[in-house]
Amino acid sequence: MIKVTIGNNVKRESVIIDENETLRSVLEDNGIDYTMGTMNLDGCSLKAGELNQTFKELGYDGTPGHDKCYLLNVVKADNA
């Protein structure tokens, strides 16, 4: 299991999930709209295909140092 802080500009929450779940399924289970803005995993921008990868495939396998992350959808307003 890994701890994921998931959210967007206005809300964030921590959830514990199986590392074999995909990023997309975790976002959908937690009601996070990923159709707008930029998806960031620990501050790095995600490419479209990476949403279908599991956390384990992206290096978060539950071992010490690889057991928590931030998955955030950031929407920037114009001129912000």
Partner: protein, 147 residues
Amino acid sequence: MEYIFFERAKSSGKEPVMARIIIAGDAAIVESAYTLEQIKTLEKYRPRALTLLDEDGKTVVFKVGTTTGKGSINNYGASFDSESRNEGRKAIITLSIPKEVLDAETFVEDVIGVSIISLNRVEEQFDAALASVEEERQTVRANITVM
């Protein structure tokens, strides 16, 4: 073969419900007191029974579940991936012990001891949740009519 038992006796006087760790060679096996099927049932009908909440009762601090990948256990939870080969068919997680480790018992206790305590605390909720699910399923079955 060495056996380590992390027991948490129940105050009710019933047989204690506990997960156990079996060390065999370079493998450490965490065996739940419940079957994989029972855990899957709770995932489907009572997911809250698989979680341990913090003192304010809002934040999940430990979670038990099943996985389609490789099972694992750490401070955040336990994912069971397989079943024991004995007649109990309990849910298990198989971990590797590094070859350089000399004292396997101390290593296992140090690495997953805290997680086993949390796992036992979560599993204490299983009996009541499974009984309640079974009751509801029986009610549903009683209302199924085949025409």
